[in-house]
Amino acid sequence: MKALAARRHHRSAPVVLLLLALLVTGGVYAVLAPSQARADTASTQDIETGKKLFQANCATCHGLDAQGTETAPSLIGVGAASVDFQVSTGRMPAEINGPQAQVKPRQFDDDETAALAAYVASLGAGPAIPTDEQVDPAKGNPATGADIFRTNCAMCHNAVGAGGALSEGKYAPSLFKTSPRNIYQAMLTGPQSMPVFNDANITPDEKRDVIAYLVAQRDGSPGGATLGSLGAVSEGIWAWIVGIGLLVGAAVWIGAKSS
């Protein structure tokens, strides 16, 4: 203790303290953060189970028969793809009101999600969940995918899928961690602010090409740090503050007299 007290005026003390504070905050968050919710019910995957789950978890907003209310849209005819996208990414059930539903730890496991999807699909015809082959990035052509992505998606999701801002707090999320299946479902169903890109607009093969392009972007840049792929703003901040700051520091050091 005495040694610590003696060094509290050391010039690197603030840096050490700051690092310690960051470590403690991070550690406490890691312990207390909500972990992935795991329900252990053995679901039978049939429509009846889905209906029960729906009435217990979704009906408050979407209505007892999924007919929609003032606060939430009707789910008749949205299809299994829509339910799987919203529930498997944790966007639904929504926790709070806000500009848009956030990605969060999912509330239902695969079986329950499948049951919910089966129930909603039984209410009216809609897009089905794509097969594994339809979303396999290895089978797509990233070059064609880049063409499609540039024209239809890059204006909101950024040229490499890093995401971007929309109006009034809404935003297009980053696609770096989105699963191929969820990317396909999003194009097919147009969740929230996103418009629908049906199979006539972007064919199933082209959708797979887009997935191949997006997965290819996850290797990062051959040049080194991408700085979030956000373009001129983050690169400019880096160059002006870090780069020129270092140059100014070097000039001051060269000009200063040695002690």
Binding site: I148, S167, Q192, P195
Partner: protein, 342 residues
């Protein structure tokens, strides 16, 4: 020179002696290395370490060049570039920082004044130069030979035109502003998907869809340079709304087809592509300056610096059910220019 030498003596008869006197150089302060042999040794060791760091950097760079080859994958190229870059950084920074540290800590740091030599040459040198020039003029006979004088002046005066004319005439490129007025859209032009060029069936445009549209052209035309400029003017964003949500201005009533509306994608502010469509609010957002247009109300401006709504493309379907333009745009697309309404 001696007359510009700093005068540091104080004149007691001057009016404001302390205010204007030159303080001169501060007194010399010895460094640690000057007075303490241990510090001197330490500084020397530091310089040695810095130069050794440079040697190690060079060796690592050479090793990395042969051992860490880019293997064709993105990650491989990154590792190779990064290793080489860091090693070369140490190789160069070691020399640079070492040299400066050496100069700052070990070399003599006594302040000294070194006077500049006078810029003006002596009178003798000047006379020789003037004489040489006069001899040359006399030798060339430019005073006697009037024609020669004339052609030399003409040739020198005309030559800059070879640079100036192409430079000035290429400023601004094409001055024909009437080209801005018309796009490829005409009565009956089919709407096609961008970039594939497939024609669009009205029944394929489902509710909530956003489709990026280009006019139908021949395959040959697509390979020309003109296509790029024309496409840049003709791009259209098409969405399908519930017809009950549509509330266009009177002029544009009936320009939709069963809730399908098509608007120019070129912002009326400074011409960025307005393509961020929010399905739930029917708002179209321009990424450059956040101009926001309401598609349900004839793309009127609801936010941002744009002053005019986006021009609407009137559409209908042909006999086969494909979407076609009912007419071209009724106004020039994109930002304002002087001759816009002529």
């Amino acid at each position: 020179m001696s007359e510009s030498k700093t005068d540091v003596t104080v004149h007691p008869d001057a009016e404001h002696p302390e205010k204007f006197s030159d303080p001169g150089l501060p007194s010399h302060r010895p460094r640690q290395a000057d007075i303490d042999p241990k510090a001197d040794k330490r500084a020397e060791r530091q310089v040695v370490v810095l130069f050794l760091l440079s040697v190690i950097g060079t060796i690592v760079a050479l090793w990395a060049y042969f051992a860490v080859r880019p293997d064709g994958t993105t990650g491989g190229v990154r590792t190779s570039t990064l290793t080489l870059g860091i090693a070369i950084f140490f190789a160069l920074a070691g020399i640079g920082i070492g040299a400066i540290h050496w100069a700052k800590t070990l070399m003599n740091d006594h302040e000294m004044v070194e006077e500049r030599h006078q810029a003006r040459t002596t009178g003798e040198t000047r006379e020789i130069a003037v004489k040489k020039l006069q001899d040359g003029i006399k030798d060339s006979g430019i005073g006697r030979r009037g024609v020669l004088k004339g052609v030399v002046v003409s040739a020198l005066a005309l030559f800059p035109l070879t640079i100036a004319v192409p430079l000035i005439s290429s400023v601004g490129g094409d001055w024909d502003v009437s080209k801005f007025r018309d796009t490829l859209w005409k009565k009956g032009t089919r709407l096609t998907y961008d970039p594939t060029g497939r024609p669009i069936k009205a029944s394929d445009v489902t509710l909530g869809s956003a489709v990026h549209v280009i006019p139908e052209v021949t395959e040959e035309y697509r390979t020309t340079d003109e296509w790029i400029t024309e496409k840049a003017k003709a791009v259209v964003l098409m969405v399908r709304l519930d017809p009950r949500d549509l509330n266009p201005p009177a002029k544009q009533a009936g320009w939709d087809y069963d809730g399908i509306v098509a608007f120019s994608k070129i912002c009326t502010h400074v011409g960025c592509p307005v393509a961020l469509y929010e399905q739930q609010t029917h708002h179209l957002l321009c990424p450059c300056h956040q101009s926001t247009f309401d598609v349900a109300h004839g793309a009127k401006v609801v936010f941002g610096p744009a002053k005019r709504p986006l021009p609407q493309l009137p559409i209908t379907v042909d006999a086969d059910g494909y979407l076609v333009a009912r007419d071209g745009f009724d106004e020039p697309v994109g930002p304002s220019y002087w001759e816009r309404l002529k």
